[in-house]
């Protein structure tokens, strides 16, 4: 249903997306993870048909997305820069959208408005940042578009509300299964509702796989410094820390460690701890170069 083939996009000389290739063929909730500026928004806009690829292509239902009316009526992109008619009320916007998105569930939208204490006659422009985000999500979910793209939907919302938000998305997904892509740079809070993760870094797709793969990507190894240092020499280390004289802890690739030629005796003296996908994400995107300690200690 979604297929990107070497999708590349330039903006004024900067390469926002570079040779992105991936495919999503059935209903699922995929988290699109990346730091600010990684290319998530550009990817979403390309899938929604807003942007013309500089190279490669983005296919939606086997049609190139740009300027395609089939793609347009089956994709909804919910993001902060969504524009609405200035004086429009929430009810008017719901009615408008329901005319374009034929699957739109008006009853659900009105119910959600009520649930979140939003007045149907309120004008969108009078709403606060967080409330606007809530309304945009209501619109986006009620549209029941086969491909629903949510760009940082919880941005601007209070912490307590954010979890509810993701649960709402999950609930609607179970009710009406479809392809949902949620982008965020906070992976932790949306981890529970995800099935897959699409990891974007510096415009490239670094990894696209199931949540469970990301849950077992990196591990923390802990043990006597001399043994740890043995391992360090032979593996890529994402982070190293000493805890007093007798303990050192490093973060490495789980698979690489398992394949390492290390005796069982030595292995038994080390403890392993899983790193959450959010933790892995942080390590994988950390900039190369000295840590903050070096800056302060020198």
């Amino acid at each position: 249903m979604i297929r990107c083939e070497s999708l590349t996009k330039f903006f004024n000389g900067t390469r926002a997306l570079e040779e992105c290739s991936f495919e999503i063929s059935g209903p699922s909730i995929t988290g699109v993870i990346g730091v600010n500026g990684a290319g998530k928004t550009t990817l979403f806009k390309s899938l929604a048909g807003f942007l013309k690829p500089s190279g490669g292509n983005a296919y939606v239902f086997d049609q190139p997305a740009f300027q395609n009316i089939i793609a347009a009526q089956n994709v909804i992109l919910v993001d902060e820069s969504m524009e609405f008619y200035p004086g429009a009320t929430l009810k008017e916007l719901i009615d408008s959208y329901s005319r374009f998105y034929r699957n739109f569930d008006v009853k659900l939208a009105m119910g959600l408005l009520k649930y979140f204490n939003l007045q149907q006659n309120a004008k969108y422009k009078t709403l606060s940042k967080g409330v606007r985000a809530t309304f945009r999500l209501i619109l986006g979910l009620s549209a029941r578009a086969p491909i629903t793209l949510l760009d940082e939907p919880a941005d601007g919302m209070d912490p307590g509300v954010r979890t509810d938000l993701y649960q709402l998305i999950l609930k609607d997904y179970v009710k009406a299964p479809r392809i949902i892509l949620i982008s965020s740079h906070y992976l932790g809070e949306m981890e529970p509702i995800l099935e897959d993760i699409l990891f974007i870094h510096e415009g490239k797709v670094l990894k696209h796989d199931g949540l469970e793969v990301f849950e077992s990507l990196l591990i923390a190894l802990q043990g006597p410094p001399d043994i740890i240092e043995l391992v360090e020499k032979r593996l890529k280390v994402y982070e190293g820390k000493n805890f007093g004289e007798g303990l050192r802890r490093i973060v490495v690739d789980k698979e690489a460690y398992e394949l390492l030629d290390l005796s069982e005796k030595l292995r038994s003296r080390l403890t392993l701890q899983g790193i959450s996908p959010e933790g892995s994400f942080t390590h994988l995107t950390r900039r190369e170069g000295g840590g903050i300690n070096e800056l302060y200690d020198s």
Partner: protein, 256 residues
Amino acid sequence: MNSMIRKESQLSIALIQTKDKLYHNINAFLFLMILHLIGYLISSSSGMGYLTGGDYFDMSYRNFSVAPLYVMTIFWMILQGFSFGEEKSRQYYMVSNNFTAYFSDIAVLEIYALTAGLLTLFSGFLIQVFGSLFVGNFMLHSLYASIGISNYLTLWFTGTLYFLIFGTVGYLVGILRSRYRSRFFLGLLLTAVVWILGSILVSYSIQGPVSLDISTVFRFYLNESRFFIWLAKVLLTIAALYGLSYLAVKNMEVNR
């Protein structure tokens, strides 16, 4: 999930967009009425309008009785065209592509031109009605009591086409402005040059060399007494403007 996939045609989406744009811009007609009112006031202060005893309010004109109204309406059409050409109006529609956006913009402008043509004829009547409600013995002008139907239809038809030309010019300028923001004035210049050159070329091929100035352009249309030639001129102008607008809109990205 497959049952959720929709395959509406571009045309049906364009029609939905047209209706939606009309609905959300309904205030435009109120704006037009206000402009007409101002038009009357202008003409009354500069023309021969006077107040005679009691509440008898007379607004008489000299030759061209509805000139101020036409000017106001033309101004209104250019403004509407321009605002539709601007990016904003395209960004309000998620289910859209450049073709449906263009199609619905043009459809709306055509409806505006038709309605404006009608309103310009009848605003006089409307003002007469409102005036009578608030001021006793309010009499606008005898003109509104005595024109025949066929005259009205002609006035409406020609008015519509002229308004459409102005509206589409505004539209084209709006698109060029939003698309080539940094090179806007270049675009403006380009439009003017193309139009003038086009008209000159066409009139050159029909009636020989002609002087290059603005009044020439207007006389090209207004002085044409042969109906079908006039119709051809106007329709060709409109077609050219439509074509240019479409070229300008094609392949435009949505940069919100």
